[in-house]
């Protein structure tokens, strides 16, 4: 039946057999390439394939008051997260979640979009979950595949201190923020970064080191256990920073400034540390924690009273009479100036064809330098300052740090403005201004602009005769070098006399600031700055010598009227609080 014979030649046989073995050899060679030559590449790949890295944010360091009380703390909050790759039907799950936590599914959806970073990376859906909400979710866990919750440390403010401008706030890093960070490598999306205030300035100290956990996951991304061969690293909390803030004084000043607009700064001239700093109105420090709604933000950012402005470093004000000590120093530096020489104040001064008025229109009569300081006579300075050049005055302002940043340790400080010849020529043209500028500058009016922190530093320098260290909020080892005005001791004591006289003489402008307490010696100067935009700003600046300590103070009340009438009484309250505190402390 199978009649035809097989006629395959041995050549055909050889070729067929060789072909079969050649195929095997080819396959073997490919396996050799992958398994032996490129083994290391694939070994690494297989490890990263199955291991998921999960970051644990480190709690940020605490911000403490000078005596160790906690000003800014961490508080664990529950956040609801979802792993996108594990969710079955996002739309309906978002709706369910919204029902359980009594939120709106569109909010959850927008959060999801905002925080989405990858299919297997937990994505935040909602924050600040309470136990009732968590309970609801837990009960319905079966419908919520891929939905988890997590604890994250968040900032909270235990002692009721508002100082939002000082502390600043932290921001969660998103793509656009990360792009602009200097040390990108240290941050991942979702980490917190200090965005303003101390949080920003001391970011390197506060941030801590994130911890990493490794989980073994299967192809659908579900965790099936920990990866035993990789060690988890625990998050290392950030370092605490101790501020120079005196908790009681800070709270007291914040209360004083309720319903007011302005600044209170209290400092320690001997160390340069700031004891209290308020900028009013301000905002609650947890305003930026959590999610800000659009309308909240709009209200805040368009508020006429500018609560977002940190007035003591960013507010630039006309100083008025509080800078007369600069003029005083500049005059005393002149060899031919006689401080005892009396000048007559009729209440005004005619300079060329212009009339410059004294704030006291009835006139102060004849006064010498100390008397002029005591009553803050303008005409005395109009008359004497004509012996000075604009450069003389400008240099002295510079010597006390005006016109440049104080290098205080919170960011975004303004530098203010001290006009010189070139500034005036630029602004008004070469012949557009006259020596009248000099007269304005002498009494702190005109183009001059200062920040309250510059003023505090200036007071510190005056009280320590030029040796006060740089102003600062945090105890650090390497303070920046402060300006150091060099004046003879005669000049210093003349300035001190004038400031003391302003408090204790019967018609001294600052006498309402004196708490009249034994050994509590107040030196001070009021200012009423003419404000082209509205009512006058009231200033009180000065310091108190008490028990070998010094307390400097700067009070600014916007649109509040006369410094002597409204700012000085406020200073008195602060001084009384200082006395009370120190007696309490010594007891």
């Amino acid at each position: 039946m199978l009649k035809s014979d097989n006629l395959v030649s041995s050549r055909q046989f050889f070729i067929a057999r060789s072909f079969a073995w050649f195929m095997m050899l080819l396959l073997g060679a490919r396996y050799f390439q992958i398994q032996i030559v490129e083994h290391e590449i694939y070994r690494l790949k297989s490890n990263t394939n199955r291991i998921r890295k999960v970051n644990k944010n480190a709690p940020r360091g605490l911000i403490l008051a000078r005596d160790g009380e906690i000003l800014v703390d961490n508080y664990p909050v529950y956040v609801l997260t979802a792993i996108p790759g594990e969710m079955k039907d996002k739309g309906s799950q978002f709706k369910l979640i919204a029902d359980y936590i009594e939120s709106d599914s569109s909010i959850i959806h927008s959060n999801y979009k905002k925080y989405y970073r990858g299919r297997f990376i937990p994505t935040r859906l909602a924050k600040d979950m309470n136990f009732l909400q968590l309970g609801n979710l837990e009960e319905n866990k079966l419908n919520l595949e891929g939905v988890y919750y997590d604890q994250i440390p968040e900032r909270f403010f235990p002692n009721g201190v508002r100082a939002a401008h000082l502390f600043g706030y932290v921001k969660e890093i998103d793509r656009s923020i990360r792009k602009n960070l200097k040390n990108k490598a240290a941050y991942e999306l979702g980490d917190l970064v200090g965005w303003s205030g101390l949080e920003k300035q001391y970011e390197a100290f506060l941030m801590g080191q994130r911890g990493t956990s490794f989980y073994e996951v299967n192809a659908s991304g579900r965790e099936v256990g920990t990866a035993s061969e990789l060690d988890d690293t625990r998050p290392i909390p950030g370092n605490n920073i101790r501020t120079t803030i005196d908790l009681q004084l800070q709270l007291f000043c914040e209360n004083l400034m309720n319903d007011k607009k302005g600044v209170i700064l209290v400092g320690d001239p001997l160390s340069g540390g700031v004891l209290a700093a308020t900028s009013a109105p301000d905002y609650s420090p947890d305003f930026f924690t959590g999610l800000i709604t659009e309308s909240n933000w709009k209200d805040m950012s368009t508020n006429q009273d500018k609560p977002l402005l940190n007035r003591y470093i960013q507010g630039t004000y006309i100083p008025g009479s509080i800078v007369k000590m600069i003029t005083q120093a500049a005059l005393l530096k002149q060899d031919n100036f006689d401080k005892n020489n009396k000048y007559h104040c009729p209440g005004f001064y005619q300079f060329g064809d212009r009339i410059f008025g004294c704030w006291f229109t009835e006139g102060h009569g004849s006064l010498n330098l100390v008397e002029a300081m005591s009553v803050s006579c303008d005409v005395y300075f109009y008359k004497t300052v004509t012996e000075l050049s604009l450069e003389n005055l400008y240099d002295t302002f510079n010597q006390f740090g005006f016109g440049s940043k104080t290098n205080i340790d919170i960011p975004n400080e303004a530098s203010g403005l001290v006009p010189d010849k070139s500034y005036m020529s630029k602004r008004y043209g070469k012949s557009g201004w006259s020596r009248g500028v000099l007269l304005n500058l002498a009494i702190g009016q005109g183009e001059l602009l200062v920040t309250p922190i510059q003023v505090l530093n200036y007071i510190n320098l005056l009280s320590t005769k030029g040796s006060s260290p740089n102003s600062h909020f945090v105890f650090v080892d390497n303070l920046p070098q402060n300006v150091k005005p060099e004046l003879s001791s005669d000049i210093w004591s003349n300035i001190h006399n004038g400031l003391r006289s302003a408090i204790i003489s019967s018609n001294g402008t600052g006498k309402k600031s004196d708490p009249n307490f034994n050994d509590f010696l107040v030196f001070g100067k009021t200012g009423t700055a003419e404000n082209p935009h509205g009512d006058n700003h009231a200033w009180f600046v000065g310091w108190a010598d008490y028990n070998e300590k010094k307390y400097s103070i700067v009070i600014l009340l916007e649109n509040a009227g006369s410094g002597g009438a409204v700012a000085a009484p406020l200073a008195k309250k602060v001084f009384e609080k200082i006395i009370e505190n120190s007696r309490f402390a010594s007891r």
Partner: protein, 408 residues
């Protein structure tokens, strides 16, 4: 009818069934590794494979004990019945968008296209042994081509590109075995390559040069040579419309093969994961049950098409070499038996069946390491899979029967 007396035990090539069993044992070890977390026995690939091995052994016995003359006599009848069987699934329900499976009232589905390979080979062997082929005349090879082409086209429409390609490719070794000059086989294959290379200008130019060179050295007459050359160019121009005829999933496979990095979670996922599994196995592998790629389910269809990835990851290059040597030995033995066969029908059947095995081994093994695009072709004896396992052992039974040199 079955003639036990004539079955010569000494002449029976036991090494063939031994090689196959050895490969199945290796497969069982790998399957047991991925099975331990299976929830039920029915879903457990290891037990499933054991269960099917019983059927496979029965199939082997039936094929082995069927007299050769019966197979020879009814070759065309089997072929016709087979065609009907392959067409049947088109009248049933689709499974995952394909018509590959036939529900036969068992808990498992039946895949007739696997059998199609066998009856195609038998029918081809019958035709080629009955007729003297003069391959220089296209007319004389028209029928064998049609014999292979018809079931291939049906299977291609199921759609099962892999099996169809295996089926059509069988014709080349079988024609060669029946005395066709390699040059004419080249002429047969050339149009296909013309179509494939036409997508790239450079590849097409090189290919055209090769055709020209082959035609030149084969001393073909100028007119037929030129005609053939331009015929190929014409096929090349056809390639674009043919490409548009392909299913998106087939286009996708080709594209994924050319650009695997384009879509790591899509079609290329399988190749990437498989290579990662195999590459991370290294020389000795990660050990039984220790394959992280495998056990964390990064690897899809790991128990069937990608069983070699499991073996490569857990037992390393050593195991792969062993498997390749066993396959090489098996196929080489089949070729040897084919060479030694006294009658042409046995010889052609053996070379055809051997080619099917070799094609499966090559396509599956090469696919798991990204040498060729992913084809849904399992590895004979090792991969889990009901119909395919039974078919493989049926083929072994036939191979052993055809290897015994007696005539009945």
């Amino acid at each position: 009818m079955i003639n036990f007396k004539k079955l010569n035990i000494i002449e029976t090539p036991w090494k063939i069934i031994f090689s196959a069993s050895l490969l199945s044992s290796i497969g069982l070890v790998a399957l047991s590794s991925i099975s331990y977390q299976s929830p039920s026995i029915v879903q457990n690939p290891f037990f499933k494979q054991l269960f099917f091995l019983i059927f496979a052994f029965a199939g082997f016995l039936i094929a082995f004990l069927t007299p050769k003359y019966l197979i020879h006599k009814y070759a065309y009848v089997i072929y016709s019945l087979g065609i009907v069987l392959v067409i049947l699934p088109f009248f049933g329900a689709t499974h995952a968008g394909t018509y590959r499976w036939l529900n036969i009232g068992l808990p498992f589905n039946f895949q007739p296209s696997e059998f199609a390979k066998i009856f195609t080979v038998i029918a081809l062997a019958r035709y080629l042994s009955d007729n003297t082929i003069n391959i220089q005349y296209f007319k004389s090879i028209l029928i064998p081509i049609l014999i292979a082409l018809f079931p291939s086209l049906v299977v291609l429409n199921q759609p099962d590109l892999g099996t169809a390609l295996v089926m059509i490719s069988v014709i080349f070794p079988m024609l060669y075995w029946s005395g066709a000059r390699p040059f004419y086989l080249f002429l047969l294959v050339a149009p296909i390559l013309s179509i494939l290379t036409a997508f790239n200008v450079i590849a097409f130019s090189i290919w055209a040069l090769i055709i020209a060179a082959v035609i030149f050295y084969s001393n073909t007459k100028i007119i037929s040579g030129a005609g053939y050359f331009f015929g190929n160019v014409f096929f090349g121009l056809l390639s674009r419309p043919i490409w548009d005829m392909l299913n998106p999933y087939q286009q996708n496979r080709v594209l994924t093969f050319i650009y695997p990095e384009k879509d790591p979670l899509g079609a290329a996922y399988q190749i990437i994961q498989s290579k990662t599994a195999i590459g991370s196995g290294g020389l000795f592998g990660k050990g039984w049950g220790e394959g992280t790629q495998t056990h964390l389910k990064f690897l899809p269809v790991q128990e069937s098409d990608f069983i070699l990835s499991v073996i490569g990851e857990e037992f390393g290059f050593i195991a792969i070499v062993v498997i390749l040597i066993i396959f090489g030995y098996l196929i080489s033995s089949i070729i040897r038996n084919s060479f030694l066969s006294k009658d042409k029908f046995s010889s052609l059947s053996l070379i055809g069946l051997g080619s099917i095995l070799l094609a499966h081994v090559f396509v599956n093994t090469a696919m798991t390491v990204g040498l060729i695009p992913v084809k849904g072709l399992p590895l004979p004896f090792i991969s889990a899979g009901g119909t395919f396992l039974v078919t493989s052992y049926l083929m072994i039974g036939l191979i052993m029967r055809f290897s015994i040199n007696y005539s009945d």
